[in-house]
Amino acid sequence: MSEGEGAHFYRQGALDTSHKAILYLEDLNVSFDGFKAINNLTLYIDAGELRCIIGPNGAGKTTMMDIITGKTKPDSGKAFFGQTIDLLKLSEPEIANAGIGRKFQKPTVFESHSVAENLELAMKGDKRVWFSLRAQLNGEQQALIDETLQTIGLSEQYHKLAGALSHGQKQWLEIGMLLVQKPYLLLVDEPVAGMTHQEMDRTAELLKSLAGKHSVVVVEHDMEFVRSIANKVTVLHQGSVLAEGTMDEVQQNPRVVEVYLGE
């Protein structure tokens, strides 16, 4: 794959979501040493939707994210972004440039860079080597950084090293990095782990405000949090979809109860 190919998606600037859905996962299968992590998984995410995905440990949530972002290649199945982009043929950076952003379960920021530099690095733009050598922040980009720092409440920490932030602040910074990437689809893995209630509320607010402009997929364990943000919830179990619906619907689903409460 040449660099140009990876870069052309954002230049084109258009993602074909004419059939309403932005992400298509069909009949995906992945196994590790005989263990089926993903088992005939089929899932659709609509453009502008905020979807929560829950499920017990080992249900395949993280592996699913790995497939979408190109980290893991499935043994079989299809994964399309919009109508035209075959995710299985792209590498991680190509997928990122196509417009899928990801926040990891464990917050990973660039620890030896300042908060502002973290945003600069994540920002949407030409990400080729030669361009990077000469790149300077223009006024517009600078404004975007300031704005985003406002949104995530880290304006005060502009010059602070990201490694010196608290756990919650790192979570926020990572969300900020997602925002400046301007993705169509955000994959957010456990965004509120280790956050205080207050921080959680703010996160919920932020994620809700993102929906509409972006599609957001949130994987979360905290049921209260999920209830506070989700319209639609998907329950994963043993690598496939167990139930789908509103929070109330899935909570009354006997199979879900069985899985979560054990008999």
């Binding site: 590790f32 040493d33 263990f35 992590a37 993280t62 592996t63 980290k71 893991t72």
Partner: protein, 532 residues
């Protein structure tokens, strides 16, 4: 070589005959007749005398003929008595008794020529062919092969019909075929050519090469066919030999790498001093041999546990003093252990000697196992091959089936969890590292039997060992075994057409490229955990 070994057989025969012959020693008239014939100093008369002796039943007679053939039969200038004068021991030819205080100038050597030599050889062959000792029979049959003539055919057939020993039978059969090749009868020539198909004896090959340009085209063609079949078989044996050398090299690689497979593969520790732990094992062998110079044959049995302990303790010392502080920082571990390797090397140079030290092979390791006349496997390589498999099996068992093995695997998979389950991870780390290092020491014992033992011994194996572990797939003992053996075999098969150095380079390049294709080696550890 061949001549020398034949001479040795001759001497053996002489000694053997003497021991038997010394029992009944009385002069019989044959000897007097022979003496007078010899005295006339003509080749014809000598031949007559030889016939006389050959016909006699005197047990000393073959001996005298043998001596005559070897140019060791002398006649006293005055009293005509015959004597065998070899270096150091002189005997009376007729009685077999030792002669003391004799003056060589009193004797005259009985001259012979090539015709006579050939004649004598066939005579003698015939004589010892009927010896009661199968070893003697075998030796004399083999001695006969080169010169066998069609005239001997009836005698050989007769012997074959009486022979009971299978080895001698084979040799006689071969002699008969070779004799038929020399005959003038075309049919028997052709049938012999047929029968010799696939025979690996070099004499046969020489003969066939001559015959393949025979004037008779039919014979030449048959000889060529047979020769080709033989050459194919020789080539096959050559391949087998290369395979053996490859497996032998591979077993050395496995031995050198298997300790590393534990410290690197299981613990994730890059130990650049691994080669020096091997070296320590080799030096332990040297010191053990120095301590018990009279029991060299048993020295290795003591050296193996001793090397295990020496290198193992050194490993534990390294782990406790340095590596322990660097867990989770593999690159730093690499540098620190490299420093240790430099110190250990220099230590050996300063304390022992910068030169190589001599380590001897016990007698049971020398010699070789002869499969056929073109393929023989040396015992030291065979033993080391077996030894490396044994070490592998033991290690595999230890890791699979013992409590220590269980704890090692637990710590290597999830340190925090293992600790929470009550595994004393520090102790397990030290023991695991000691185990890996001890195995390196044992490898050193084996290596001391194959290569020079010097301060640089370890250095020359460290990169190869890492290659084996990485190629096989880190954390997989089977991978190390397969990788080591296959790299050894690949290397040896490349050598004939690429040369040793280029073969080594090619193997390195091959591994580098292979790792690009499959970064986790032949047998990768799969799973989500392996991804990070």
């Amino acid at each position: 070589m061949l001549a020398k070994s034949r001479a040795r057989i001759g001497v053996a025969l002489i000694l053997l005959f003497f021991s038997i012959a010394a029992v009944w020693a009385e002069t019989d008239p044959t000897w007097n007749q022979a003496s007078s014939l010899f005295k006339q100093a003509s080749f014809d008369k000598t031949r007559e005398a030889a016939d006389l002796l050959a016909a006699s039943s005197d047990p000393q007679a073959p001996l005298a003929l043998k001596a005559l053939l070897e140019g060791q039969l002398y006649q006293h200038k005055q009293n005509d008595s015959l004597a065998v004068l070899a270096d150091g021991n002189s005997l009376d030819a007729s009685t077999g008794q030792a002669l003391s205080a004799l003056n060589k100038d009193d004797y005259r050597k009985i001259p012979i020529n090539n015709t006579l030599r050939k004649y004598l050889r066939s005579k003698l062959g015939g004589l010892s062919l009927s010896s009661s000792d199968p070893k003697v029979r075998l030796a004399s049959t083999i001695g006969l092969l080169e010169t066998v003539t069609p005239e001997q055919l009836p005698q050989l057939q007769d012997l074959l019909s009486k022979e009971t020993d299978s080895q001698v039978k084979d040799a006689l059969y071969l002699a008969i075929q070779l004799a038929s090749l020399n005959s003038s009868d075309k049919a028997s020539k052709l049938s012999a050519l047929n029968a010799l198909e696939g025979n690996l004896n070099p004499i046969v090959r020489n003969k066939l090469t001559i015959l393949s340009s025979d004037a008779d085209s039919e014979i030449a063609k048959a000889a060529q066919t047979t020769l080709r079949s033989i050459e194919n078989k020789v080539a096959l044996n050559g391949q087998l030999e290369t395979l053996f050398f490859g497996l032998s090299l591979g077993s050395v690689l496995v031995l050198a790498a298997i300790g590393l497979a534990i410290t690197f593969g299981v613990m994730g520790v890059i130990n650049m001093a691994h080669g020096e732990l091997i070296m320590l094992g080799a030096y332990t062998t040297y010191f053990i041999q120095k301590l018990m110079p009279n029991y060299l044959d048993y020295s290795l049995f003591l050296a193996i546990p001793a090397a295990f302990v020496v290198s193992g303790l050194m490993g534990i010392l390294i782990e406790r003093s340095v590596i322990r502080h660097l867990y989770g920082r593999p690159l730093e571990t690499l540098l620190a252990t490299f420093g240790i390797s430099l110190i250990l090397q220099q230590l050996v140079r300063t304390v022992v000697s910068p030169q190589n030290v001599p380590v001897s092979n016990p007698s049971w390791m020398s010699g070789s196992l002869e499969i056929n006349s073109v393929l023989s496997l040396t015992y030291n390589r065979l033993y080391i091959l077996a030894f490396s498999l044994l070490v592998f099996a033991i290690l595999y068992f230890v890791l699979r089936n013992t409590n220590l093995g269980l704890q090692v695997r637990a710590v290597s998979q999830n340190r925090a969890m293992a600790r929470a389950m009550g595994v004393r991870s520090a102790r397990v780390d030290a023991l695991t590292f000691g185990l890996g290092s001890g195995i390196a020491g044992v490898a050193g014992v084996a290596l001391s039997q194959l290569t020079n033992v010097g301060p640089n011994l370890g250095q020359s194996y460290i990169i190869d060992s890492f290659m084996v572990v990485v190629f096989g797939g880190v954390g997989n003992l089977w991978g190390t075994l397969v990788a080591g053996l296959s790299l050894g075999v690949i290397n040896k098969f490349l050598e004939p057409w690429a040369g040793a150095v280029l073969a080594k380079i090619l193997v390195l390049v091959f591994i580098i490229l292979f790792i690009q294709k499959r970064p986790r080696g032949l047998f990768p550890q799969k799973g989500r955990a392996a991804g990070d």
